[in-house]
């Protein structure tokens, strides 16, 4: 009875899977950076970036549907950008009256909103591509290789390790609650919403308390095996020449796309 579905890694023999994790990390972070630097309203630029990403997704042999469903995570970011059409000054597209308040939708604002939405949609999918094609330990290794502080990498590693333990624990708690949530003839079961909410709050609290205690035990187990605050790690695997070629080509391509985007922006 364990939760496996949280782990997005798909073990497949694709070209994308076989790339070095460090190469993938650099290219994905570079891609996300390129996407966020792409000027507002340069639709051709977004199209090229997305086409590039989709090609990589197809090469990874994981179904596109999986990417799209997971990418729904980007919706909260888009929500945050929703006020943009109303707050940006520019050419007026529409105007409403609301209780004496005048709301104006500007063309520039709308273009910004759509740009933000596209950027988050594309960036989230790029991150998913990395997670789908690389095991988490490999991603950690790549982070260390590109100079993310070791302590931070160790924290990510522990978080990943115990996320599943934590999710399992929450699942078992909810099962225990379901097992005792019953009904007898003659009474209305379930009580009030506040009662149930209070109970759920208590469960969340006890989960937190246990997480806290477990952290203590894990730390003691680390100390017992000689942990002194310094994170030591195994040496990194050898770096191949082809890796350098792929990284340089990729980053060069991003640069070209960015230059093209700025050019279109300046003439448009």
């Amino acid at each position: 009875m364990h939760i496996h579905f949280l782990d997005p890694y798909h073990p497949l023999p694709s070209l994308i899977h076989s790339l070095d994790a460090r190469v993938k990390l650099i290219l994905v972070v570079g891609f996300i950076l390129t996407t966020s630097l792409m000027p507002v309203g340069v639709w051709a630029g977004y199209l090229i970036l997305y086409a590039l990403l989709i090609s990589a997704e197809i090469l990874s042999e994981v179904s596109l549907r999986y990417y799209f469903s997971r990418a729904l995570f980007s919706i909260p970011f888009i929500l945050a950008a929703l006020p943009l059409p109303f707050t940006t000054h520019g050419r007026v597209l529409a105007q409403f009256q609301l209780d004496g308040l005048t709301l104006v939708i500007s063309a520039e604002g709308l273009a910004r909103l759509i740009s933000v939405a596209l950027k988050s949609w594309i960036s989230v999918q790029a991150a998913i591509l990395l997670a789908v094609s690389t095991t988490f330990p490999d991603i950690l290794l790549a982070m260390r290789a590109v100079g993310v502080p070791r302590l931070l990498v160790a924290v990510f590693g522990l978080m990943w390790r115990y996320l599943f333990v934590f999710a399992d624990e929450a699942l078992r708690l909810m099962r225990a609650r379901a097992a005792r949530s019953s009904e007898v003839d003659g009474y209305r079961s379930g009580r009030s919403l506040t009662w149930r909410a209070k109970l759920t709050g208590g469960m969340a609290g006890s989960l937190f308390l246990r997480g806290f205690e477990r952290a203590d035990r894990v730390y003691l187990a680390m100390v017992a095996r000689g942990y002194d605050g310094e994170v030591r790690s195994l040496p990194l695997p050898a770096w191949k020449k082809t890796n350098t070629v792929v990284v340089v080509l990729g980053l060069f391509l991003y640069l070209l796309i960015l230059i093209m985007g700025s050019f279109i922006r300046s003439i448009g």
Binding site: M1, R172, L199, L209
Partner: protein, 238 residues
């Protein structure tokens, strides 16, 4: 008269593809006490989780004549089966002992004085009446295990389904739990590795291995068959 528990051709596959139960058939008469034994990963806990519909496999399960497959019956069945999880940490999800034992009857919507009576009765059955105001978090494992059983007794179930009730207990807590289970007049299905307890209080024993029931007979007879026990990773009490 209906069986307390009737399971016909039950199979279950976990979402990750692992086949946990294969064609399980089990009938338990009212007031019968049955031990469920077998190696780790045999499917014992999975089977117990089916008794009140936490997991839903293919096949037919009836508890006290009610079909568990019918989702309308689910909440009724949960009042009839007291399922106690292996780890009391999972079972005890409220801050205090009182709140935890009261959860079942409170959820059922019983009046508060009745709930209070149920809590006191259930705690006194397990001999923990003095713990009523205690904080669950601070109890010992033996105390938690007893209170976990009280949390389902307060619902007045017909069937008690326990998952490894004696695991991790010190000899004295174990002894008192065994005596308590022996004297409790209820239908029981108890998953365990404690073969001494099986011999002592369960006249009937069901051996599971690899998701299947491989033997279902009188305990004394199965305990004689050392080849069978060994083949399924078990050991007869000396």
């Amino acid at each position: 008269m209906h069986h307390s528990v009737e399971i016909k051709n039950l199979s279950y596959r976990y979402p990750d593809g692992h086949q946990a139960l294969k064609n399980v058939n089990l009938f338990i008469a009212p007031d019968e006490k049955v031990a469920l034994v077998g190696p780790n990963g045999a499917g014992k806990s999975t089977l117990l989780l089916h008794l009140n519909g936490i997991l839903k496999g293919d096949g037919e399960i009836k508890v006290c004549g009610l079909s568990v497959n019918d989702s309308k019956n689910l909440v009724k069945v949960r009042a009839m089966v007291g399922l106690v999880f292996q780890t009391p940490e999972d079972q005890l999800f409220s801050p205090t002992v009182y709140e935890d034992v009261a959860y079942g009857p409170l959820y059922q919507g019983l009046p508060l004085d009745e709930v209070d009576r149920r809590v006191r009765d259930a705690l006194s059955v397990v001999g923990m009446q003095d713990y009523i105001r205690r904080i669950s978090h601070h109890l010992s494992l033996g105390e938690k295990k007893r209170i976990a059983i009280a949390t389902v007794l307060s619902m007045k179930p017909e069937v008690l389904a326990l998952d490894e009730p004696t695991s991790g207990l010190d000899p004295r807590s174990r002894r008192s739990l065994i005596e308590f289970l022996r004297d409790l007049p209820m239908t029981m299905l108890v998953s365990t590795h404690d073969m001494y307890m099986v011999r002592e209080i369960f006249p009937r024993m069901v051996i599971m291995d690899n998701g299947e029931i491989v033997a279902d007979a009188e305990t004394e007879r199965l305990l004689q068959d050392t080849d069978l026990l060994e083949a399924h990773g078990l050991e007869a009490p000396r």
